[in-house]
């Protein structure tokens, strides 16, 4: 029990919580301060997560280091803004105000989240599905591979961000435009990687399948696909980050709601507390999605190359 309570992160937690809850704020005099309870809840959530990780995680030292760093950063933020009022309030809002945004604009943020996730899921899964399917078919057919691969290579080098504004203008609705942008953002690289992976697949696996007299369909989807699955899943987190990036970029141009749009509109109106809250939210969502991929990988893949 002792090791869960007596450590640096917990000391910082107590200092931070006490400071936020009881010390007078200097900002109060000049600027309207939001209620502190949202920030306090956030701090408690961090503490709960820290204790959970400390109990279940493997590397206790790293967990403590990370938590200590997080608390130190929050403490510094709190001191520099609301307690000592050293930074310009308008550009660096107090954490109380930033976290209160989640209370005040919770519904807006959630509706943006729902919209972004919808576009993301549509574009991401379509790109993954067609990229892998076509990649396996093309990679398996030498003539097709030789003809298509150089072309795909060219396409995959062009970042989708570059033609995002054009697609937003071109497509009838913003939703179709951003789905297309996300699709193109990862389709070419997925296709290229899959073609490449099929080409460099362990010959012994192919030979074993051949000597079992498998039909082409079985070879492609019961041998090559499961063999490539760990690599595909490994590439998911990178692809996901690229998708979110392209989606956010698209949202900067033509959306009416969405996670990236929330940040962009807040910056436009100089609501930096909202902007920072939006950025924190995107970070949390991305981290959650990435952990989801890791969990899925652990459940699906029980073997190594």
């Amino acid at each position: 029990m002792k090791k869960y309570i007596l450590n640096v992160p917990n000391l910082l937690f107590v200092i931070l919580a006490a400071l936020v809850s009881f010390a007078p704020s200097r900002l109060d005099a000049r600027n309207p301060m939001s209620p502190a309870f949202a920030f306090v809840i956030a701090i408690i959530a961090v503490e709960v997560f820290f204790l959970y990780k400390l109990k279940s995680g493997r590397d206790a030292t790293a967990t403590k280091d990370i938590a200590a760093f997080a608390y130190a950063a929050l403490l510094l933020w709190e001191l520099l803004t609301s307690k000592l009022d050293i930074l310009k309030y308008i550009f660096v809002p107090a954490p109380e105000n930033v976290f209160y945004v989640f209370v005040k604009f919770g519904l807006t943020i959630l509706s943006g989240f729902e919209r972004s996730m919808l576009l993301l899921t549509a574009g991401f899964s379509a790109a993954l599905f067609f990229g892998v399917l076509l990649g396996i078919l093309i990679g398996w057919t030498p003539r097709l591979r030789n003809a298509v691969f150089p072309v795909v290579k060219v396409f995959s080098t062009v970042p989708a961000l570059i033609y995002t504004p054009y697609l937003v203008v071109l497509m009838p609705t913003f939703a179709t435009a951003s789905i297309l942008v996300i699709f193109l953002g990862i389709f070419w690289s997925t296709l290229m990687n899959t073609i490449n992976d099929v080409g460099t697949i362990d010959k012994r696996i192919i030979d074993s399948a051949k000597i079992l007299n498998v039909k082409t369909k079985v070879m492609l989807f019961q041998v090559i696909l499961p063999y490539l699955l760990p690599r595909i899943i490994n590439s998911l987190s990178v692809q996901l980050n690229i998708s979110v990036m392209t989606l956010n970029a698209a949202e900067l141009i033509g959306a009416d709601r969405g996670m990236g749009y929330f940040v962009k509109r807040s910056i436009d109106y100089a609501n930096y507390d909202q902007a920072i809250a939006g950025i924190i939210f995107i970070a949390i969502v991305l981290t959650a999605l990435n952990s989801l991929i890791l969990v899925a990988k652990g459940k699906l893949i029980k073997w190594h190359y």
Partner: protein, 265 residues
Amino acid sequence: MSRIELRNLSLAYESENKRFLALENISLSIESGEFVCVIGSSGCGKSTLLGVLEGLIFPSSGEALIDGVPITGTGPERSVVFQHYSLFPWMNAKQNVAFGIRQVNNASKKEANEIAEDFLIRVGLKDFMDKLPAELSGGMQQRVAIARALAVNPKILLMDEPFGAIDAKTRVQLQELLLSLWGADAERKTVVFVTHDTDEALLLSDRIVFMGPRRIEQEIHVPFERPRRESTFFSKPEYAELRKNLVSLFYRDVAQNIGGEEVLI
């Protein structure tokens, strides 16, 4: 019926501007039900020869026939056990064997599973059916590979140094397992077994085909009666005589390859 015949077979690997002759003018016939070991030092072309029989590599000239029909690819009458990594790592032992069965006959999943279980029991893996290959030892993996090869009831069994990476004690067990499974069939399968182990070749085969670089150098008849058992087999004087001949062939071959200067035995 499953007679193998090779006629004036040559095979060259060709890359952009190089041509490497792997097999040169090979003629060989293997009778139905015969157990033949192909033996030779590394790089002599014995695995290439087996690749032709597997239907994975094609000769540059000459013919490879099974019951008079040229080999044009892999076929359900032939099964193969490779040295390494022939099991699918994402399937457990039973799934691996059942997968093989379902490619050649129209067995339902349930029937295939039953046949797979039966064969896994016969190779002594009753308690390991649900294990992935990575969870099995090398010897157990080869047992699964043998079960998968036999479960489709092939007429010809092709084995490419199947016990080459197995420790000596396990290898003996696997050799005896192979002999007992092969001997148990009423109509014996034709076996072509590639190895570089002289003892293994003498224990297993009816005939040893000794390969020098690219060519068959000598065919040696192995007259010992079956069933052969490791324990009694190696003490026979005829065995010692044959082994001496075979080993001397090996070293003569090595001596020729490196100019005959560095062999100090």
